[in-house]
């Protein structure tokens, strides 16, 4: 479904990604792991068209999307739930959800999709007329996920959904993500929360210093000596 081939990406004059390649197949749950500054968010922003790709190509469902602008990437069905949630704080929960469904297809199904989102996250229905900025961290993350679902995504890109959440909420959000994946939405997730993510995902890639260091299934990586030492502290 998504094929990233040998991309180089730079911020201003500093090159961040070096020949990064990976693939996400339809229906999969793929994780990108790595420490701070490894280039995880940069990779996602390159896919979403917010950053220009210097070399290499990105292909989505057989179409080359390397050079197309960000707002068109979303239209193809790649929906990015950004790091830090990035809600519209002074708009209501409902309005935030509506902003997720601006394309004709998503817009025509706005009501039904919203109902589904409320089934996933009942708290959002309860708070639908509150401003998004007044929600708690966990609720905001749910809203960010819900807003992503409103676009009827083919590929849902999640950037550190567990960031800044209490452990019990992390567990709940991860369960929500697994449900979403089980319903047929392909998920590409970036995480620092290594153990829980590896337990849940189908496959994972580990980035180090802007390069793909190692890849494999969740179980393979959990048993890998380097991963154990560097990320799990065992």
């Amino acid at each position: 479904m998504l094929k990233v081939k040998d991309i180089n990406v730079s911020y201003k004059d500093v090159q961040v990604l070096w020949d990064v390649s990976f693939e996400v197949k339809e229906g999969e749950f793929v994780a990108i792991l790595g420490a701070n500054g490894a280039g995880k968010t940069t990779t996602l922003n390159a896919i979403s068209g917010l950053l220009k790709v210097g070399k290499g190509s990105i292909e989505f469902m057989g179409k080359d999307i390397t050079q197309i602008p960000g707002y068109k990437v979303a239209e193809l069905g790649i929906i990015h739930v950004p790091e830090g949630r990035r809600l519209f704080p002074e708009m209501t929960v409902r309005e935030n959800l509506e902003m997720g469904s601006l394309f004709p297809e998503a817009k025509s199904k706005r009501k039904e999709t919203m109902k589904k989102v409320f089934e996933h996250f009942p708290i959002l229905e309860e708070k639908q007329h509150k401003e998004a900025g007044t929600l708690s961290g966990g609720q905001q993350q749910m809203l960010a996920l819900g807003r992503g679902l409103m676009a009827l995504p083919k590929l849902l890109i999640l950037d550190e959904p567990s960031l800044g959440l209490a452990p019990v909420l992390v567990k709940q959000i991860f369960e929500n993500i697994r449900d979403i994946n089980n319903e047929g939405v392909t998920v590409l997730q970036v995480e620092q929360n290594v153990v829980q993510t590896l337990n849940m995902c189908h496959r994972a890639y580990v980035l180090e210093n802007g390069k793909v260091f190692i890849q494999g299934t969740g179980q393979e990586l959990l048993n890998n000596e380097h991963i154990k030492e560097a990320y799990l502290g065992i």
């Binding site: 979403s48 707002y71 704080p89 601006l102 676009a151």
Partner: protein, 290 residues
């Protein structure tokens, strides 16, 4: 009686100031820059309405519906071909976009001077000097009509921003531009439309004030200053704040003109401006939030 009349006239005038300032606020919210050419856009709008009235005998309140689309287009073009070009270059600081708006202001002002000379002009209509009486208070008809139309536009804009997808996209873009792009919002298109709407509101406000103010190429500076004061009063980027700020500025100018001195009416606004910056830097919006 004098006090009542002063207050009412001030509020009526303030409603029209508010319309101009809301345009500036809207642009500031989305672009994160202060558009120092805003007053010049008001001035251009006034000249369009003036020409319609003088050359074709079109009533200013109808002429404004010609001036608004013209200015909408002008605003879109300025945004698309001038300001957006600076946004695309990473190495240019936002401050330089502000400098660009100063340049645009100078060009518009001098172009108006070339075409119309520096003469003071005014539009007179059959009802320009009509007044209605409210008890013992007399209120000028152009003030009343202007205020009424300004309030209708403010309400329409409010509905547009809260009920339509484009309006909501404008608010979303002003709250978090990158997140808006993630949602598939074409942010450069939205900024263009926003600049257009801001310019059209400037034209509307200018046209409404045309029967009350003298028109000359430098009149824009006056309106840039007023909208700037109002925007600070209301809290940057807040539409409701700008509406309230406009009313307060109109009111204080009117009180100052009546009870201090006609010549000091602009000073009153500036004093309030400084006091707000010193003691309430977030504007009136910060009072509501707490």
């Amino acid at each position: 009686m004098l006090l009542g009349q002063t207050i009412i006239c001030g509020l009526l005038l303030g409603g029209m100031y508010a319309l101009i300032a809301i345009g500036m606020t809207l642009i500031m919210g989305v672009m994160k820059i202060i558009n120092l050419a805003h007053g010049a856009l008001v001035m251009v709008g006034m000249y369009v309405t003036y020409v319609c009235s003088k050359n074709y005998g079109i009533d200013p309140y109808i002429g404004m519906f010609i001036a608004m689309p013209v200015l909408f287009l002008l605003g879109c073009l300025i945004q698309k071909y001038m300001i957006n070009r600076l946004v695309e270059v990473d190495s240019i600081l936002p401050e330089n976009q502000v400098l660009l708006t100063v340049g645009i202001m100078l060009v518009l002002t001098e172009a108006a001077r070339l075409m119309f000379k520096s003469d003071y002009r005014s539009v007179t209509t059959s009802y320009s000097s009509d007044t209605v009486f409210l008890g013992a208070m007399s209120i000028s008809v152009p003030l009343l009509i202007g205020f009424f139309i300004a309030m209708v536009f403010t309400l329409l804009l409010h509905l547009f921003l809260t009920k339509t997808d484009i309006g909501k996209s404008i608010r979303a873009t002003s709250q978090d531009r990158d997140a808006a792009v993630y949602m598939g919002i074409n942010s450069s298109k939205i900024t263009m439309i926003t600049f257009g709407i801001g310019a059209a509101l400037a034209a509307a406000g200018g046209s409404l004030l045309l029967p009350l103010f003298y028109l000359f190429p430098d009149v824009g500076h006056l309106f840039t200053a007023k909208s700037f004061i109002i925007t600070i009063l209301g809290g940057m980027g807040s539409t409701m704040g700008a509406a309230v700020g406009g009313l307060i500025l109109g009111l204080s100018e009117s009180l100052g003109a009546t009870y201090i001195n006609m010549g000091y009416k602009d000073v009153v606004g500036l004093v309030i401006f400084i006091l707000v910056l010193l003691f309430l830097p977030g504007g009136f919006r910060s009072l509501v939030k707490r």
